[in-house]
C-alpha cells in the first residue's frame, strides 16, 4: 500500500485492526499527491520506486494466521495515583490521562470502584455484557467500560440507558463509525433524543438545546466522546486525520421539542418507525451546521429553507447522496404549518426545490471519486444547467422541531458524505428501577424555559 506521509501511522493502525499487521506500507515524502505539479510527482515516484519494489520482493517477518480471539472481556483493571493529598492525587491522575490520550482535555471525575458501582445501577444489564465494538481500534464496549467513561464525564446513573443506546447506534454497521472516526473529513456524531425520556432526564429541548447548561445534555455528549476516545481509540493526527476537526466533537446532544411541534406533525421517532410511547436516540455523522432564518428578503416563508438546501453541496458536490437534517425552531415550524405544510410536504418541497445545477459536479465524465461517493451516472448525461436534487430522495431529509420559540433561527445540518454513514436510530430500553433512577435526579436539574 502506498500512502502520503502524514497517514503512515493511520495506515499501520488500520492494517493491524484489519488483521494485517505485516502489510507493507510505503510512505511518500509529500503530505498529499493530489494537486501537486508534475515535477514533484515525478521526483517522489523516483524516490520511492526502490522501496516499493522492496515491498513486493523482500521478505517479511511473517505472522501466523489465526482465528479471532474469543470475546471474553476481563473486568477493568485498577489504576492507582498518589499525592500528598486528594487534590494532588487527582492532579497526578489527570496528567497521566492527558499524556496517554485518555482524556478530552476537560477535568475528569475519578472513576472509583464506588462511583462506577453507582453508575451501574442505571442498567439491569450485567457489567460484562458487550454492547458493541468501537472503531477504529475495535475496543470492546462492555457495560462496565461505558459506565467508567460515564463517571469520568460527570454523568448520572439515570443516563446509562441513553448511553447504552448511543453505543448500540454508533457501533451499528449502518453508521460506519470507522469512517466517521478516521476520516480526514470534518465529521462528528450528533445525538438526537426523542420521547418521554427528555422530560425524565431534564434534557433541555428548548432555548439552546444544542448548547451547555444542563447536566444531561452536556455529560451524555461528553461521555459519548470519552467512549469514542477510550474504547474506539481514535487520536487526532494518529488515526483520526481531520485537518481542523469539528466543534461537535465535544459531544452535542439535541432534544426534540415535542410540546411545540405543530399539531399533526409526527415526532422524529415516529418518522423513524418507532412507537410514540417510547423514546429513541439517533446518531448522525454531522459535518456543517448552517443557520436557516425565517426572516429573509424572500416573499415566502419556505424560500429561505430552499435556498439553504441548495448550499449543502456548493463546497463539495462529490458528497451527493448524503442525508440532511433540519432542526426547525418552534416559530419557524409554526409558520410553515400555517402556510399549509406537513412533514411530508415540506420534505417533498425541499427535494423538488432544493436543486443545484449539473455543472457544479464538474466536467464530464464524472471522476472516480464522484462514482465512489455514489453519484449516479445519470447525472453525467444532464445538461449543465439542469437542476439536480441535492439528496437522492425526500426520505433522505430528516426533520424535527427543536429549540425554543425565538426569532425562528433553525439549523440545516449536513452529513459527512464520503463514507457509508447513515442516520441511525435505536430505542432506549429502560431498566425496572427506572422511576427510582429518575427520582435520584432531583436537585440535578436546570430550569427549562418554554414560551
Amino acid at each position: 500500500m502506498i500512502d502520503a506521509k502524514p497517514f503512515l501511522a493511520d495506515s499501520h493502525s488500520s492494517a493491524t485492526g484489519a488483521g494485517m499487521p505485516d502489510l507493507r506500507i510505503v510512505a511518500l515524502s509529500v503530505a498529499a499527491t493530489a494537486g501537486q505539479p508534475p515535477e514533484i510527482l515525478e521526483k517522489v515516484a523516483k524516490e520511492s520506486a526502490k522501496e516499493i519494489i522492496d515491498g513486493l520482493t523482500k521478505g517479511v517477518k511473517g505472522v501466523v494466521a489465526g482465528p479471532p480471539a474469543p470475546l471474553k472481556p476481563k473486568p477493568a483493571e485498577v489504576l492507582s495515583y498518589t499525592g500528598k493529598n486528594y487534590d494532588e492525587a487527582i492532579e497526578t491522575m489527570e496528567k497521566f490521562f492527558l499524556s496517554n490520550r485518555w482524556s478530552d482535555g476537560l477535568p475528569i471525575v475519578p472513576a472509583t470502584k464506588e462511583a462506577v458501582g453507582s453508575m451501574l445501577k442505571g442498567t439491569d444489564l450485567p457489567r460484562d455484557h458487550v454492547v458493541g465494538i468501537v472503531d477504529p481500534r475495535k475496543g470492546i464496549a462492555t457495560v462496565e467500560k461505558i459506565a467508567i467513561n460515564a463517571v469520568m464525564a460527570g454523568a448520572r446513573p439515570a443516563y446509562m440507558p441513553v448511553l447504552i443506546s448511543i453505543v448500540q447506534a454508533l457501533t451499528d454497521p449502518s453508521f460506519d463509525l470507522y469512517g466517521v472516526q478516521a476520516t480526514g473529513g470534518l465529521a462528528a456524531p450528533l445525538v438526537i433524543v426523542s420521547g418521554p425520556i427528555i422530560k425524565d432526564l431534564n434534557i433541555n429541548f428548548s432555548y439552546s438545546t444544542a448548547g451547555p447548561g444542563w447536566r444531561s445534555n452536556s455529560t451524555i455528549g461528553r461521555a459519548m466522546r470519552l467512549i469514542l476516545i477510550n474504547l474506539g481509540q481514535a487520536w487526532p493526527g494518529v488515526n483520526d486525520m481531520k485537518d481542523v476537526g469539528n466543534p461537535a466533537k465535544f459531544g452535542i446532544l439535541i432534544a426534540e421539542n415535542e410540546a411545540q411541534t405543530p399539531r399533526g406533525w409526527p415526532t422524529l421517532r415516529e418518522q423513524e418507525g418507532f412507537s410514540k410511547d417510547g423514546s429513541t436516540i439517533s446518531v448522525y455523522a454531522s459535518q456543517s451546521y448552517r443557520q436557516v432564518m425565517k426572516h429573509s428578503i424572500k416573499p415566502y416563508i419556505e424560500e429561505a429553507t430552499f435556498e439553504q438546501m441548495k448550499t449543502a453541496l456548493t463546497a463539495d458536490a462529490s458528497q451527493w447522496g448524503e442525508e440532511i437534517v433540519f432542526v426547525f425552531s418552534p416559530s419557524y415550524a409554526e409558520a410553515l404549518a400555517n402556510a399549509g405544510y406537513t412533514v411530508d410536504s415540506i420534505r417533498r418541497a425541499l427535494f423538488e426545490e432544493g436543486r443545484v445545477p449539473r455543472r457544479i459536479f464538474g466536467p464530464r465524465p464524472l471522476g472516480a471519486l464522484a462514482v465512489a461517493s455514489g453519484i449516479p451516472k445519470w447525472i453525467d448525461e444532464l445538461p449543465d444547467n439542469f437542476g439536480v436534487p441535492v439528496v437522492p430522495s425526500a426520505e433522505h431529509i430528516k426533520l424535527f422541531i427543536g429549540g425554543g420559540r425565538g426569532p425562528g433561527c433553525s439549523f440545516m445540518i449536513d452529513q459527512w458524505g464520503f463514507g457509508n454513514s447513515h442516520f441511525t436510530t435505536k430505542e432506549v430500553k429502560l431498566p425496572p428501577n427506572w422511576r427510582e433512577l429518575v427520582n435520584e435526579l432531583k436537585g440535578w436539574e436546570t430550569p427549562i424555559e418554554v414560551k
Partner: protein, 123 residues
C-alpha cells in the same frame, strides 16, 4: 543521675516527635480508579503473501481506491517502476474505498490476475 535521666527522656520524646513529623510530611493519599480503555477485539490475522523473487516479467495489479491522490500519482509510479524494471505489466482496478464489501468479485479478479498488488492511495 537525675540529669542524665531527664536528658534521655528528652531525647526519646524528640525522636518520637521527629518520626511522627516525618510521617506526617510524607503522608500519601492513593486514588484508585478503573481503567477507561477498552480491550481490543482481535480480528482473524491474515499473513502477508509470499514476496516475489523479482518483478521482471511479473503482472502487477494496481488497486486504485479513488481517493484524490491515486489518479494524480499513478502514472508517475508506473513510469518510475517501468524505468527500473521494463518488463513489468500493469493492470488497474478502480474500486472505491467505501465499496469493498460489495466488490468481492472484482477484488478476486484482481488477485487472480496479479502476481503482486500495489494499493493506491491511503489518502
Amino acid at each position: 543521675m537525675k540529669t542524665r535521666g531527664n536528658l534521655s527522656l528528652i531525647l526519646i520524646v524528640l525522636t518520637i516527635f521527629c518520626a511522627l513529623y516525618t510521617e506526617l510530611v510524607n503522608a500519601q493519599v492513593t486514588l484508585n480508579v478503573l481503567d477507561p480503555r477498552g480491550e481490543l477485539f482481535t480480528p482473524p490475522v491474515m499473513p502477508t503473501t509470499a514476496r516475489l523473487d523479482t518483478l521482471a516479467g511479473k503482472k502487477i495489479g494496481i488497486l486504485n481506491n479513488t481517493k484524490p491522490g491515486a489518479d494524480a500519482f499513478q502514472p508517475y509510479l508506473e513510469k518510475a517502476l517501468k524505468e527500473m524494471v521494463p518488463t513489468i505489466e500493469f493492470k488497474t482496478w478502480v474500486i472505491p474505498y467505501n465499496a469493498y464489501p460489495d466488490k468481492e468479485k472484482d477484488l478476486k479478479a484482481l488477485a487472480e490476475w496479479s502476481n503482486g498488488v500495489i494499493g493506491l492511495l491511503g489518502d
